[in-house]
C-alpha cells in the first residue's frame, strides 16, 4: 500500500527526450491507467516507477520516501510484463514461488500463498505445468499471479492484455479489476488502448510525446479534454473536427466555415471575444450528431453539410464518416437511416456538445458546459 509521487521526473536517452518534466500523484489503492500512443513515454514512466530505469532528473516517492536509489528488488513492487516474462524452465508453482523464496518465507507459508493465489486465478490445476504448455490466457493469469502472490505495495502492469485475443482480453480486464479490489495495492496500468483505459481506470493519465497532457477520471477526460490531442485520443470513434475562422464584431463573435453554421452560446462568445485566436477547431463527438433534413437544420444550433466517405456497419448502429470543408467528422447513427457513399448529408448537433480548441496550439478554449 503506497502513494506514489513523481516530481519533475525526466528521462533522456542520449539526445532523445523520452520523458520531460513529469509530475504525478497516484493515490493509495488507486487504479491509475497510463494511456497514449506508442512512443508517448508511458512505459518509460512505468519502468521508472518500477526502478528498472533510472530517471535522468527528478524524484520518485513512495509514501514520501524517495526511492530513486532503492533497487527494484527492494521497492516492494510487482510487475506484469507485456510478453509475460515467465521463467520458462520452472513450473507454474515455482514461477509463483520464486519471488517468495527470495524473501525467505517458510515453505509452508509459500505453499499456502501460492495455492491461495492460484485458486483466486483459477490456475490451480496448472501448478505443475511449464509455461510453454499453457495458452496465452493461462500464461497471463500466471504472470498476474506471480505479481499478486507477493502482496506488493505497488502493482505495475505493462500492456498485459495486448497479446490476448479479443474475447479473453475482455474477460481478463474484469479479472484484473477484481484482483485489484481484493489485494488493495496501488496499481499502475499502461495501455495504448483507450477503451481499456476508460473501462478500467479510477483515473487516467493521457500521455503523448513524453509528456502528460491530462490527468482525470474517465468522465472528466471524455467531457472536458484539455486539448485537441486528448479529445481525439479518448473515445471511439474519434471526435470530429472542423476548422473555422473567428469573426469578431462589435457586440458578437461568429465562427465561419463553408460547410458549417454554428450558433454559439454566451459563454462561448465571451471566451472567444476575450482572446485573439484567429481560427478554432470545433470538435463534436460522433454520438452528438444527428442526420437531419434541411428544414430541421435551419432551426438547429449547429448544422454541418458534407459528403459521406465511409459507412461502417456495426450491427445495431453505423459509423458514418463524412468529409466536410475544413475537416472531417464522424456520426454514429441508427442503422435504419440509410446513407450511401458520396451522399450529401446534413448533420445537426446542439451547442452544448461543442468543444472549442485553438486551431494553432490545440488547447481547449473553454471548459465545456455539461448541462448539469
Amino acid at each position: 500500500m503506497a502513494k506514489i509521487s513523481l516530481r519533475h521526473v525526466e528521462k533522456r536517452y542520449d539526445d532523445v527526450r523520452a520523458l520531460s518534466d513529469t509530475n504525478l500523484e497516484i493515490d493509495d489503492h488507486e487504479f491509475m491507467v497510463l494511456v497514449g500512443p506508442s512512443g508517448s513515454g508511458k512505459t518509460t514512466l512505468l519502468r521508472i516507477i518500477a526502478g528498472l530505469e533510472q530517471a535522468s532528473a527528478g524524484e520518485v516517492y513512495f509514501d514520501d520516501v524517495c526511492v530513486n536509489d532503492i533497487d527494484v528488488g527492494e521497492r516492494d513492487v510487482a510487475m506484469v510484463f507485456q510478453n509475460y516474462g515467465l521463467y520458462p524452465h520452472m513450473s507454474v508453482f515455482d514461477n509463483l514461488a520464486f519471488g517468495l523464496r527470495r524473501r525467505m518465507l517458510a515453505t509452508g507459508e509459500i505453499d499456502r500463498r501460492v495455492r491461495d493465489t492460484a485458486r483466486m486465478l483459477n490456475i490451480e490445476p496448472l501448478l505443475n505445468r511449464r509455461p510453454r504448455q499453457l495458452s496465452g490466457g493461462q500464461r497471463q493469469r500466471v504472470a498476474l499471479g506471480r505479481a499478486i502472490v507477493r502482496h506488493p505495495a505497488v502493482f505495475l502492469l505493462d500492456e498485459p492484455l495486448s497479446n490476448l485475443d479479443a474475447h479473453p482480453r475482455v474477460q481478463m480486464r474484469a479479472e484484473i479489476l477484481k484482483v485489484h479490489r481484493s489485494v488493495t495495492s496501488t496499481a499502475v496500468y499502461v495501455t495504448h488502448d483507450q477503451v481499456e483505459a476508460l473501462t478500467m481506470g479510477d483515473r487516467i493519465v493521457v500521455m503523448n510525446d513524453g509528456r502528460i497532457h491530462q490527468v482525470g477520471t474517465p468522465g472528466e477526460l471524455y467531457d472536458h479534454p484539455v486539448n485537441r490531442f486528448v479529445a481525439s485520443f479518448i473515445g471511439t470513434p474519434a471526435m470530429g473536427f472542423i476548422t473555422c475562422a473567428v469573426r469578431r464584431m462589435s457586440d458578437s463573435v461568429e465562427l465561419a466555415s463553408e460547410s458549417a453554421r454554428i450558433r454559439l452560446d454566451d459563454r462561448q462568445v465571451r471566451a472567444l471575444s476575450d482572446c485573439a485566436v484567429a481560427r478554432v477547431a470545433v470538435g463534436i463527438r460522433p454520438e452528438c450528431f444527428l442526420l437531419a433534413t434541411e428544414e430541421v437544420a435551419r432551426g438547429a444550433d449547429i448544422a454541418v453539410r458534407g459528403t459521406v466517405q465511409v459507412v461502417e456497419m456495426l450491427g445495431a448502429e453505423q459509423y458514418v464518416h463524412i468529409a466536410v470543408d475544413g475537416g472531417a467528422v464522424t456520426a454514429r447513427t441508427p442503422r435504419d437511416q440509410s446513407v450511401r457513399i458520396d451522399d450529401a448529408v446534413t448533420l445537426v448537433a446542439t451547442r452544448r456538445d461543442l468543444h472549442l480548441f485553438d486551431a494553432e496550439t490545440g488547447e481547449a478554449m473553454i471548459e465545456r458546459q455539461t448541462g448539469k
Binding site: V77, F81, G85, Y87, P88
Partner: protein, 294 residues
C-alpha cells in the same frame, strides 16, 4: 475430340513430369556433392582396414580385399605412444572448452545485456581477431609462451587453443543470451534477485544447451588444430593426435598408410560424435538473431 478437361489434365501431367525431372536433378546434384565430401572419409576408413602391402599398391583397391584390424591393434600395441597422443588431445581440448565457456559466458552476457560506450566496437574487435589467419598468431604466441615458460606444455597448448577459440565462443554465447527475452531477467530483478543470482538461476539454465554447443564447438576446433601443437610442443609423447599423425606415420623412406588412416579414423570419431550431438543447436546458435523471431 479433346475436351477442356482433357487439356487441363494434360497440362497437369506435363507440370507433374517437369516437377519430377527437377527433383531428380536435385537428387543427382546432392548425391555428387555428398560423394565429393564423403569420398576422403571413405578412403580413410577403407585404407585403415587394408594391409600394409595393399595400402601401398600403385593401383589402389577400392575396398580392402584382405580386410584386417591389425592397423587398429597396432595403435595400442605398437611402438608409438598412441594412447598418450589421444590423452593429450582429450585433456587439452576438454580444458580449452571449459575455460573458453567460463570466459565466454560472462563476456557474452556483457556484450548482450549491458550498456557501455564502445560496446559494439568491442564486440567487433573481438570478432576481427577471429578473422586473422591462424599463422599470424603463431609467432607472437610462441614468444609469449616462451617467456611464460609454457612451451612444450599442455597448459601452453590450452592457452593457444583458447586464444583462437574464444572470440567465436563469445559471439556464440552472446547470441544465445540475446535469445533469452530480457523481460525474464527483469521479472527476476523485480522478484528481488541480484545480477549474479539471475545469471546463475535464470539465464544459466536457459542457455545451457547453448553453453554445451559452444563448448563442443571450441572442443572441435581445438581438436582439429594442427599447427599450434606442431609449433609449441616438441616432446613427441606430449603431442596431440593431428600433430602426431603427421610426425609419426610419415617417414623418410616409407609411409605407414594403414596405420595412419587407422589413427586418423580414431581421431575423427570423437569429433563426429560431438558434432552429431549438438548439430541442431549449433545451427541455431550460429543463425539466431539473423531472422526476426528466430
Amino acid at each position: 475430340m479433346p475436351t477442356r478437361a482433357d487439356d487441363v489434365r494434360a497440362d497437369r501431367r506435363k507440370a507433374e513430369s517437369t516437377r519430377r525431372a527437377a527433383r531428380a536433378f536435385q537428387a543427382v546434384v546432392l548425391l555428387l556433392a555428398l560423394a565429393w565430401s564423403l569420398a576422403p572419409i571413405y578412403w580413410m576408413v577403407a585404407t585403415s582396414f587394408k594391409t600394409e602391402l595393399e595400402a601401398a599398391r600403385l593401383v589402389p583397391t577400392l575396398w580392402p580385399h584382405d580386410a584386417t584390424i591389425d592397423n587398429y591393434l597396432g595403435l595400442w600395441t605398437g611402438s608409438l605412444p598412441f594412447p598418450s597422443f589421444f590423452l593429450s588431445s582429450l585433456t587439452t581440448c576438454l580444458v580449452t572448452a571449459v575455460v573458453s565457456v567460463l570466459i565466454a559466458t560472462p563476456a557474452g552476457y556483457a556484450l548482450s545485456r549491458t550498456q557501455f560506450r564502445l560496446r559494439t566496437s568491442v564486440g567487433y574487435a573481438i570478432l576481427v581477431f577471429r578473422m586473422l589467419p591462424l599463422v599470424v598468431l603463431l609467432a607472437p604466441l610462441y614468444l609469449l609462451l616462451l617467456h611464460a615458460r609454457l612451451l612444450d606444455t599442455h597448459a601452453g597448448l590450452v592457452v593457444g587453443f583458447t586464444t583462437f577459440g574464444l572470440p567465436f565462443a563469445v559471439w556464440m554465447m552472446k547470441s544465445f543470451i540475446d535469445a533469452v527475452p530480457i523481460e525474464i531477467e527483469e521479472a527476476a530483478r523485480v522478484d528481488g534477485y541480484s545480477r549474479l543470482q539471475i545469471l546463475l538461476r535464470i539465464v544459466g539454465p536457459l542457455i545451457l544447451p547453448g553453453l554445451l554447443t559452444t563448448a563442443t564447438f571450441v572442443f572441435m576446433e581445438a581438436w582439429n588444430n594442427l599447427i599450434f601443437p606442431l609449433t609449441f610442443v616438441t616432446t613427441l609423447e606430449k603431442q596431440t593426435l593431428p600433430a602426431a599423425l603427421v610426425l609419426s606415420f610419415t617417414g623418410q623412406f616409407k609411409t605407414d598408410w594403414g596405420g595412419m588412416m587407422a589413427a586418423a579414423t580414431v581421431t575423427t570419431v570423437p569429433l563426429m560424435i560431438a558434432f552429431f550431438a549438438v548439430q541442431r543447436s549449433m545451427v541455431r546458435g550460429l543463425t539466431s538473431g539473423a531472422v526476426a523471431g528466430a
